[in-house]
């Protein structure tokens, strides 16, 4: 099963995981990495690298990050461009994480990245009640 990493500035990733688990039930094979005040890009990079190194060598990894251009995304990119195999999807939101969790079984990481991106986008809608 593809391993999911949730990465954010502050506690957003942890918070969204506990919300997602209310909806989908307790999950395994998910890691949360937070960029906390006082820690820098290098700390984040090493924490991410260590988390991936701890996984089974054959595990595929998808990382869902909060903000394109932000440090969690930048450091994931640095690791990925440097040769660490993983897929990165930015703009982490609840529909994205739920869909990723629910579709994980039997999918490879590229398929899952496409699902995550689409679900994240589809979950955003302006509900124009007065039109």
């Amino acid at each position: 099963m593809v391993h999911i990493i949730l990465a954010s500035h502050g506690d957003a990733a942890q918070g969204i995981l506990s919300t997602a688990e209310l909806i989908c039930g307790k999950q395994t094979d998910i890691t949360v990495i937070s960029l906390v005040p006082g820690s820098g890009p290098n700390d984040f990079y090493h924490e991410l690298e260590n988390s991936i190194n701890k996984l089974n060598a054959t595990s595929e990894v998808i990382i869902l990050t909060d903000l394109i251009g932000g440090t969690p995304t930048n450091e994931a990119l640095r690791l990925a461009i440097g040769g660490q195999p993983m897929e990165i999807v930015t703009g982490l939101n609840l529909p994205m994480i739920i869909e990723t969790i629910l579709c994980r079984k039997g999918k490879n990481v590229l398929e899952l990245a496409a699902i995550a991106e689409e679900a994240g986008k589809k979950g955003i809608m302006h509900l124009k009640v007065n039109e």
Partner: protein
């Protein structure tokens, strides 16, 4: 003055920059000055991805910046200049580029550095460079975000 802001930040392009500063200053070009990574394809690619969609990006060393500046390449776009190293700020000032204020965002902690603000740590050499900048009459505006209160660090130098 075509340059909207000059910032010192060793994290270069990151969340505080791509969201708050770019919108606050209505930026359409980000220039990062860091000679160490000009030839580093990984770092360059990360910065290209980090630069918000629709906003120009350029990476150069101090000499490259001075040359482009003197050739008026920053006349038109509303430009945010981000120096990764205070040494390079001093370098471009010595090369004749003048400006009135230096925004200081983040300089990371390393053993032996002194803390000047929540997010700014300097070694003795960097402190001397900041002093030199301050003595040129340039304001040292320590702020991570546009909405933060400016911190005056000149007394700490």
């Amino acid at each position: 003055m075509p340059i909207a802001s000059i910032r010192l930040d060793d994290r270069m392009i990151h969340g505080q920059v791509t969201t708050s500063w770019v919108k606050y200053l209505n930026i359409n070009l980000i220039v990062v000055i860091n000679g160490d990574i000009v030839e580093d394809p990984i770092q360059r690619k990360v910065l290209e991805f980090a630069c918000p969609m629709g906003i120009g990006f350029r990476l150069c060393d101090a000499a490259g910046f001075v040359k482009a500046y003197n050739e008026n390449e920053f006349e038109k776009p509303n430009t945010l200049v981000i120096f990764a190293k205070v040494k390079d700020v001093v370098e471009v000032i010595r090369q004749g580029i003048s400006f009135s204020s230096l925004n200081i965002g983040n300089l990371k902690f390393l053993p032996g550095k002194t803390q000047l603000s929540k997010s700014v740590f300097v070694n003795e050499e960097e402190k001397q460079y900041l002093k030199e900048i301050h003595e040129k009459g340039i304001e040292l505006d320590v702020r991570m975000l546009p909405t933060d209160k400016k911190i005056n660090i000149s007394k700490l130098l």
